[in-house]
Symmetry: C2
Subunit: 114 residues, 2 copies
């Protein structure tokens, strides 16, 4: 099926050290035919966050709804619906939701980070 | 600048045979540090469309706002805000906006298609 309807995506809780109140849905990746990357949709509940960590692949992000913050290196940016971010490889980063509504964003990674 | 605010993206008209009433904004790509792919945001005005064509790279799509149709091979799907689509390489495809509001979507391509 080449089209994935938003209401059909399956969210699973992210169970990883340093994570609080996040779900992920794997939307487009190898099962759909994308050979080398994966598009996931993360949702961070109010008060939730991703680990403050780094790895040797990049993130390409696009905010679907709500707002939150993204720390990249030693800078923290507030991002909202329709803003984008690029997290370079080997750069400390963290997403946080200090607001009252869910913060939902796309995160695209190469297969080694999926 | 690792964050691109939606209000700052620069839209340019798509001038290509078979295109009607489309703008594109190149949001994340080589200038931002993504080595091998590019994330563009297209906006199709009501009545507009992309060419009905094919090429040897894939499209990864995510609808930002509005709704429209995507034809992939011999099937046509209606897609709306937050739906996704995958257009395989070497497959005839076309995006159309038969509705009354702008149809805005992300289109990710490998560099050879950017």
């Amino acid at each position: 099926m080449p089209v994935v309807k938003y209401e059909d995506i399956e969210r699973t809780e992210v169970l990883m050290e340093g994570v609080k109140d996040i779900t992920v849905a794997k939307v487009i990746g190898q099962p759909q035919g994308w050979p080398d990357h994966s598009l996931r949709v993360f949702q961070i509940a109010p008060g939730g966050f991703t680990p403050h960590h780094q790895h040797d692949w990049e993130h390409v992000n696009y905010v679907v709804s709500g707002k939150g913050t993204v720390t990249i290196g030693d800078e923290t940016f507030e991002v909202k619906e329709k803003d984008s971010a690029f997290v370079p490889p080997n750069t400390m980063h963290q997403f946080r939701n200090p607001f009252d509504a869910p913060f939902e964003f796309i995160c695209i990674v190469p297969n080694k980070g999926a």
